[in-house]
Subunit: 87 residues, 2 copies
């Protein structure tokens, strides 16, 4: 599955959230990651993040599609870790 993950977490937890996301996904842009994961990898990522965030304060949202072929990407301005490399 193709996953886009966005996070909004407290500054003091950002490094741990970043490190966890980097194990599974590619960095797109400030607080955004994307990549292909198996369902098991997706569950493992969610479990790892659950252990890192404060659920009363932080927020993580994912959007997923069955295949990257179902997702088209576009961009304006500078390309950061943009999706161009894998889509």
């Amino acid at each position: 599955m193709f996953v886009i993950l966005v996070y909004d977490t407290a500054v003091e937890r950002n490094p741990k959230v970043l490190k966890t996301c980097r194990k599974y996904l590619h960095w797109t842009q400030r607080s955004v990651f994307h990549g292909e994961l198996s369902a098991a990898q997706y569950r493992a990522l969610m479990t790892a993040l659950r252990g890192v965030i404060d659920p009363d304060y932080d927020s993580i949202v994912t959007y997923s599609a069955r295949s990257p072929d179902l997702i088209e990407s576009g961009s304006l301005g500078v390309s950061l870790g943009g999706p161009g490399d894998i889509l």
Copy 2:
């Protein structure tokens, strides 16, 4: 089409970027919007954003799918303007 838009723009341009995105999409989370747009609306949004950002400094990335049915969403922690309302 279903569109997820993430932006990383200079602080001084954020209000204009936010205002432009809000005309077309729902706010998901800090610097992330989503929503259903026609192809014409998508082009109009991109054109409007092009007039607002500094292309040498700012970055906007979009992910789109033909239909919201192709996208599943998930979340951890607090729900902000989360996608639950329309997905």
